[in-house]
């Protein structure tokens, strides 16, 4: 059924359709309306679940991780400082191989305080062992939540679904909400091989000494390798049933593009307009929207971008002393490839600063008019 929904509403309905059994979250802007809407959905009986109103994000993830270990399908949502407060639990949840699904509404990390969108919160958690999928629309957000439980429960790794704070979380669009019976047939109930049960007692997370610890980490890496295939397969299955698929990347006018813009999230929607306008003027530009950041699709992105002469990376984040995180990852992925495009780095849209069509145009113009990058990333809209 088609409904007019914000990103947060679409996600809340997605969690309901997935029949999540234990949900725990702590309010934080701009995620808060997910907490509110799910608490209503549980209270009015549309979802048979326990909703636990914890006192912090650390407790939220500790709570749903333990619930997952006890065999329940578990969900949480957060943003920015809440995600940072979960840091220890992020490692713990993936280390325990618990298929928790979390939505993070992307928001800048303070200080200074800022409640608006950028990607520094989730990108700075990239090494915590979670799959990360970045969404561009409310439709993609609800679909990705549904896909994520299936992915997580197959590979036993947690999934973080990312939506741009306000740009996606609070903006309404028409969303095709899947039917419950369709979701039920796509996503069977969670039946873990190991769980906390008096019938078959296990001790979870005991000490692994130096001879064993590395094996746990290697197993998790194998699972992340497998996740890459599973994410693609689940996306294909989803497309076959629901008519929508997303891939590792969203690619626009890439096949003959000399200059490609690489970015995450909703900035791609703005960029799409600019690409069309530039194409009308005969400029061979393209757009690659990175949806899957973990696992990083190194081979695929190398093949995709290897055809272009130049790639402009727009990072909505910055790692002090290193530059944009997406650009770093891309350069690492391209290192071993034969055909390497020149990489132009741009930092923009921090703390909710709009990324306008004019900004995207400037990025394309700069990249087309320079033979190579100047060395340091270009900061968009900052006085020199």
């Amino acid at each position: 059924m088609k409904k007019l929904l914000t990103g947060n509403s679409a996600i809340s309905l997605g969690v309901m359709l997935c029949r999540a059994e234990v949900i725990s979250a702590y309010p934080i802007t701009p995620q808060t309306t997910i907490v509110e809407e799910i608490s209503e959905i549980v209270a009015d009986g549309r979802l048979k679940a326990r909703f636990i109103r914890v006192e912090s994000e650390h407790s939220a993830l500790a709570c749903v991780a333990a619930a997952s270990a006890a065999g329940a399908r578990a969900f949480t949502a957060t943003s920015s400082h809440g995600l940072a407060y979960m840091h220890e639990m992020l490692h713990w949840t993936s280390g325990t191989r618990l298929p928790v699904v979390m939505v993070n509404a992307n928001r800048a990390m303070g200080s200074p305080w800022n409640i608006w969108c950028d990607h520094s919160d989730s990108l700075s958690q990239r090494d915590t062992g979670w799959i990360q999928l970045y969404c561009q629309s409310a439709q993609e957000a609800i679909d990705t939540v549904i896909q994520s439980f299936k992915i997580a429960e197959e590979v036993l790794l947690p999934v973080m679904v990312l939506e741009d704070g306000f740009f996606l979380s609070h903006t309404s669009e028409v969303v095709d909400v899947p039917e419950q019976n369709m979701v039920d047939s796509f996503l069977p109930p969670f039946r873990p091989r190991f769980k906390l049960s008096p019938e078959e007692p296990h001790t979870f997370n005991i000490m692994a000494d130096p001879s064993m610890f590395i094996h746990f980490k290697h197993d998790a890496q194998q699972a992340m390798n497998q996740a890459k295939k599973v994410i693609a397969r689940v996306d294909r299955e989803f497309k076959a049933r629901f008519g929508r698929g997303y891939g590792y990347t969203g690619n626009v006018r890439m096949s003959d593009a000399d200059v490609v813009l690489l970015t995450l999230g909703t900035a791609a929607s703005t960029a799409l307009e600019v690409v069309d306008a530039y194409r009308k003027r005969g400029k061979k530009v393209g757009l690659c929207r990175l949806r899957m950041f973990r696992p990083f699709p190194s081979e695929e992105i190398g093949r995709l971008l290897g055809k272009a002469k130049k790639v402009a990376v727009l990072d909505r984040d910055n790692s002090l002393g290193a530059g944009g995180i997406v650009a770093q990852e891309l350069k690492a992925a391209l290192y071993g490839t034969v055909k390497k495009p020149r990489i132009f780095e741009f930092i923009g849209g921090l703390g909710g600063r709009d990324i306008t069509p004019r900004d995207i145009g400037e990025i394309f113009n700069y990249t087309m008019s320079h033979s190579g990058p100047d060395g340091a990333p270009v900061w968009m809209g900052v006085k020199k």
Binding site: C63, A65, A67, S68, E200, T203, M212
Partner: protein, 294 residues
């Protein structure tokens, strides 16, 4: 309430095997065995960092026969809520959920999650084994360390200068249905309280003193005697608090001098002249305050 009074057969089933890593004379394995005996196999435990977390096995061996889930230091209170919620949603009302933490995981780094679970009145038993310092990392001061005690962060020239936090009153102030203190020197009373907690819906807090031969500096064969002296000197009275209001004394202490309890412990070797009297006065004053609530 049937099945609350302990029977000899309760002690036959073993849920904590040999091979755990506790130090000789440690009270905590006795605490655990008492709890597990009282509850039986239909029990799931959330364990946090601390001595219990450390002794709960090295992969792939575990000494614990009930299902157990280790969770990071601040989160025992939240993890137990999650386990309870998962069981509830699956319709399992039979299994008891417990959280077990030391004084660090209860008084200090863990108190936020515990206070929240108590306020929500989540249905599980939180058990604190208090060895009165961060023993697992090597005897550092906690907010449960008593006044005048030596630890590795309160050296002889700068002994603990604050009284310990009154954790029982803090939990009772949440008006949870059941709070009780228990002692390994009074096993029948301990078992009865654990079972009463199991039969009570909502949040339950069981608080027990866990004498630590290494950290308190006493010979490992007198653990139980010290636990008993703590009760008899009124340092650690045994009582229950129901709904935050109804206080009941479980064991009438003899009120023997507190020095009998402190002298065998090397951690109190650095008390200065007059300190013993001051400690006795504090114990007497706290006892008078407590007695008024019965």
């Amino acid at each position: 309430m049937s099945g609350i009074e302990p029977q000899a057969k309760d002690l036959l089933e073993e849920y904590l095997y040999s091979g755990h890593g506790a130090c000789p004379g440690c009270a905590m394995p006795i605490v655990l065995r008492t709890i597990f005996h009282a509850l039986g196999e239909k029990t799931i435990a959330a364990i946090t960092a601390g001595c219990f977390g450390t002794i709960s096995g090295t992969y792939p061996a575990s000494p614990i026969r009930i299902p157990a889930y280790n969770t990071p230091f601040p989160s025992a209170g939240a993890a137990a809520s999650g386990i309870r919620a998962a069981l509830d949603v699956k319709g399992d009302r039979e299994t008891t959920v417990i959280a077990v933490a030391g004084d660090g995981g209860t008084f200090d780094i863990g108190i936020q999650a515990i206070s929240a679970a108590a306020e929500r009145n989540d249905d599980y038993i939180f058990i604190c084994y208090d060895n009165e310092a961060y023993m697992n990392t090597g005897i550092q001061r906690s907010s449960a360390t008593p006044w005048g005690a030596w630890t590795t962060t309160t050296p002889p020239s700068d002994l603990k200068a604050q009284p310990k936090k009154d954790i029982v009153r803090i939990l009772a102030a949440h008006r949870v249905p059941y709070v009780a203190t228990a002692s390994i020197a009074y096993v029948d009373d301990f078992v009865r309280k654990i079972r009463k907690a199991r039969e009570t819906r909502g949040f339950k807090f069981i608080y027990t003193l866990s004498p630590c031969p290494v950290g308190w500096r006493f010979p490992s064969e007198i653990t139980i005697r010290l636990a008993r002296l703590a009760v008899q000197t009124r340092v650690f009275p045994l009582y229950e608090v129901e709904d935050g209001e109804r206080y009941t004394l479980s064991v009438e202490p003899e009120g023997i001098p507190v020095s009998e309890y402190l002298k065998p412990q090397g951690r109190f070797n650095f008390l200065r002249e007059g300190d013993m009297e001051r400690i006795q006065e504090n114990v007497d004053r706290e006892w008078e305050r407590l007695v008024r609530r019965f």
